[in-house]
Amino acid sequence: MGNPAPGQPSQQDWILGDTDAIIQLLACDKLSLLKVLRSQYGILTVIPEPVEIELRNLVKNRRFQDVHQRLTKAFNNGLLTILQEAALSPLVGVNTHEAFERIERLGEKFRRLGVGSGEAYAHAAGIELSLPVLSNDGKAINVLMAY
């Protein structure tokens, strides 16, 4: 992402993650890819709260028991950041509350269209903030495009 135009809010280089994409990276111990994005390209991986909830719950699953620590570490060292209202100002200026509300409303709408909570809010944030979404399930896009 380029430099912001004068008078415009400064752009931030973010990529939004959905649950499945992040859990696959965790399971394969490939979070180093996110580290590369951050250190070499300045791109931060951000996840909406429903994705965080899903991830924290999934790592309780016996299937993912090895990745529990990796997830905790990723949150602690900022490799994964939870999308919060206050952090939106570089992207949307002073209207962070309105922007966050719009994401929540769109996320809720997407959930009602047949998409899981995590992916609904990841795509909603992607649309509202004009940011790319890291996902490995194209079906969510198909479902949403159908409406």
Binding site: D20, R56, N61, E104, V115
Partner: protein
């Protein structure tokens, strides 16, 4: 408020975390208020706990006025003290919430059952004798459901037809529960009526009666009550219980059905054999006790004959006549091995330490919507209370392509 609600239910927070698919630590954080509860999950919490979404965010109970009636009532029933009962109600309420969401994907946002219940309820004279109330209500209900067709037994149609009018029927084994059946309403995208029948040490024939018994409570008794609970071997003389028993009997074995079966099988009541009785049970899709009670109430047998025939062991003959009479193991021996998992294992979800058998019809709709790209695999997993990987593993072969 969430902490107060959890305390009121008498169910461990860890179990609730599992119901709502949240890590226990995170649920504790919501309870303690150290983290806010995300807005998107408020409707689920509110629906299961029986309050308004805005109530969950309140700091306190407001002097107890916000105590949800259903949990208050469940706690006040001495026999519903076991954790199993309370956890089961919690799981089923969550399933009902999901059923409401599922219906919204099918553009069904109103429960047709409400109109049916209302019409039946308003047509019945509550001052009339209980038997008259039950007979008239059953006759009307059968007509509303399209079941007024002479001697045809309705046992096979109960579940799909009730589901079609928006009622969730859950039959799942809860071994350590005394509850045989219960019914309540849940707020989802619209009001959902739910009937639960405990399938542990129960038969399909028995559950036909339990389901209709609970439907009767839904029609007459759930207007002013948050929940109706019935126990195994309950012998209440209460009007609502007698009406519900008679309603179930009149729905399943009205005189027309009994007369038709008697003629069809050439039954002579005075020399009834166990084999004859098995034919009547298989034909009416009702349990032995109910068939005989119906025959007695229609004066086809004497009280002495009733007592004598009640002792008949019809199990072996019934198994030859009806697949529903087979035990799980016997039934599985009749179907191809590759379908075994679908019947039980794949429908079984584990929530906390407790299992819940998902209704076949519910699961089929989820898979159909997923196959048609109407919902994603994550949504399918949410609705069926599994994680996406378990869902994928179990149903991969039923989907057109691996998602």
């Amino acid at each position: 408020m969430l902490r107060d609600l959890v305390t009121l239910t008498n169910v461990e927070p860890k179990f609730w975390a599992s119901v709502f698919n949240v890590a226990p630590e995170q649920f504790y954080e919501w309870m303690s208020g150290t983290r806010h509860i995300p807005k998107y999950i408020l409707p689920e919490l509110a629906s299961v706990f029986g309050v308004q979404p805005s109530d969950i965010e309140k700091n306190q109970f407001e002097g107890g006025e916000l105590q949800p009636a259903i949990w208050y009532k469940l706690r006040s029933i001495p026999s519903v003290s076991s954790t199993a009962d309370l956890e089961m109600v919690g799981m089923v309420r969550k399933l009902c919430f999901n059923f409401g969401e599922l219906q919204s994907f099918l553009s069904r946002t109103t429960g047709a059952y409400e109109g049916v219940f209302q019409r039946v309820r308003s047509a019945i004279d509550k001052a009339a004798p209980v038997i008259s109330q039950a007979r008239e209500a059953a006759r009307m209900f059968r007509a509303e459901m399209g079941w007024e067709t002479g001697g045809t037994a309705i046992g096979d149609f109960i579940r799909p037809v009730l589901r079609k009018i928006g009622i969730v029927i859950v039959e799942s084994p809860v071994p350590d529960s005394l509850i045989e059946g219960c019914s309540f309403r849940v707020k989802s995208t619209h009001d959902i009526a739910c009937v639960f029948a405990n399938s542990y040490q129960s038969t399909w024939f028995r559950r036909n009666s339990v389901i209709l018994h609970e439907i009767c409570h839904g029609i007459f008794d759930l207007e002013g009550e948050p929940v109706s609970v019935d126990y195994r071997r309950e012998t209440s003389d209460d009007i609502s219980e007698r009406r519900a028993n008679l309603f179930a009997q009149e729905c399943l074995v009205p005189k027309a059905v009994l007369v038709y079966l008697v003629n069809r099988f050439g039954i002579h009541w005075e020399r009834l054999s166990a084999k004859n009785l098995a034919s009547l049970i298989a034909g009416s899709k009702a349990e032995q006790r109910l068939v005989l009670r119906a025959a007695l109430s229609h004066k086809m047998i004497t009280p002495d004959q009733h007592d004598e025939y009640l002792k008949f062991d019809c199990a072996a003959d019934l198994k030859k006549l009806s697949p529903q009479a087979l035990t799980t193991r016997e039934f599985l021996a009749t179907v191809p091995h590759d379908q075994h998992k679908w019947f039980f294992q794949d429908r079984f979800v584990k929530i906390g330490g407790r299992g819940l058998l998902l209704p076949v019809g519910f699961l089929k709709i989820v898979i159909e919507l997923l196959s048609a790209d109407r919902i994603t695999i994550d949504k399918a997993a949410e609705l069926t209370m599994m994680d996406r990987y378990t869902f994928q593993e179990r149903f991969r072969q039923m989907l057109p392509e691996a998602a």
